[in-house]
Subunit: 321 residues, 2 copies
Amino acid sequence: MGEFDLIARYFTRPVRRAALGVGDDCALLRVAPGMQLAVSSDMLVAGRHFFDDVDPVHLGHKSLAVNLSDLAACGAKPLAFTLALSLPEANEVWLKGFAEGLLALADAHEIELVGGDTTHGPLNICITVFGEVPSGKALLRSGARPGDDIWVSGTLGDARLALDALLGKIDLPPDALSAARLRLECPTPRVALGTALRGIASSALDVSDGLLGDLSHILEQSQVGADIDADAALQTMAARKSTLILPDAQWYQCALAGGDDYELAFTAPADRRDQVLAAASETRTPVTRIGHVTAAPGIRVLDAQGNTLPQQKWSSFDHFA
Amino acid sequence: MGEFDLIARYFTRPVRRAALGVGDDCALLRVAPGMQLAVSSDMLVAGRHFFDDVDPVHLGHKSLAVNLSDLAACGAKPLAFTLALSLPEANEVWLKGFAEGLLALADAHEIELVGGDTTHGPLNICITVFGEVPSGKALLRSGARPGDDIWVSGTLGDARLALDALLGKIDLPPDALSAARLRLECPTPRVALGTALRGIASSALDVSDGLLGDLSHILEQSQVGADIDADAALQTMAARKSTLILPDAQWYQCALAGGDDYELAFTAPADRRDQVLAAASETRTPVTRIGHVTAAPGIRVLDAQGNTLPQQKWSSFDHFA
């Protein structure tokens, strides 16, 4: 199958909202008056971001989900995306599954694939997403203030638990593994929560490389520090509710520096707790308060007894470390 | 060097025109009222789109140039771009050169890098460019009409000549090789010509996979055909002006199906020839009339004697063929 047939068969659908979609040199998008365009780009590499034998339906979902998660972290409403795909071969079974997972998530968010590129090479998936946010209303990393609460959405650490099990570092019972694996392979971008937090949250980002490492970007850009309640963060893990027994260090590692969570970490003034909880309730997204912003720089991680835990073990995931 | 240091050192510069650049979850762009956003994404893979040992300064240039060429083909003015980069190692010499070539071309077009991603993996460069074009004024592939002239900008075929020489298929004298190699490695995106052709050209695209193959996309989308003057196309080749002697088939192959030209192929009504030539002159971009659009579908390639040449040899480049 040629390149153009392949694009046509799996990825071309009628354009609905964009002015011009797949099949010209550029896609054309309209941005409504008073809106800014939010743009983010993520690249997923076989063997680095996913296992070669991962279910292509899950991979299609995740490739778009991690990008939508960036829009969510800015409070932007998704509009469209481009896909650049390097494939070792035009495997129709793989492509069909990949397109299915990708386009199902696109449909769920009412966005469309407007362009891109396909080429021959090692498996590499690069998606660029476009969203819109009212001018001046985007959630940035630089707005956290001392005294603000620190919140996270959903559950932390389960994706890392699955990864460690798949890498043979820990043993998980089949039920626990398959639940955790869904979190690793099919993360839920918190788009509705992100837009609901506009005007409420003082800063936000998405947790992709591990809570503490990602949170440090907010703290640096806001020139503040944080006290983190390790147990509160740890209690968000779905696996904690099971009968699973693991060493404490493993739990902490997963929850605080796990990576691949694609949850939102955000700050909000303490007098906006009700508004945060209302936004969470409206969007059916669990949120947990896990600490507060301090004037003193750095992150202090505290256990249930209020003791500071050593952090050197929980460094952020870094693709070149 | 860690991922974040690497981004900061080579790719972060102060934001000038975008509302928010590298360092948050999304970049934020403003699109002026009455404008549409034009978006295009191209992925370059080592060993497929460039040789592993190519000068990284040239590669940085080309990675952005091929994307700007897509904006040019739509008549869009470039605004900004994102870069997703997969690297086998954080080689500082390579990165410094790549960033130099990339950002020099960005500066020449007064656009800025607003975001992206870096990761570890086989060398892969994915750039997404953003441009603006007045609503309804984009040059599309679907507007060619019978009787329209067919034009190309600049020179065709020299890039392919260099590629064939570098692959050892033909011998070129050192001077001819280095001139042709510059066309292969440092193409000039025809951005100024593209915007100047708004309202004049009836259709346009950029020639990246070879003239005949690319032109067929215009013909299919416009439901027309074309008569091409092979010698006119061939005379655009810079190498034709040298003392180089090659078989006719080689010249035709390069000019008609060479690929990697990044020139504009466009159509315009015959009564707009003066306007086309004025646009070319204003933007200091050579243009050559190489044929005309016909009502009958398909492409007929004619030699200087008006005989139809067989075309099966000059198929378009296809990444999965």
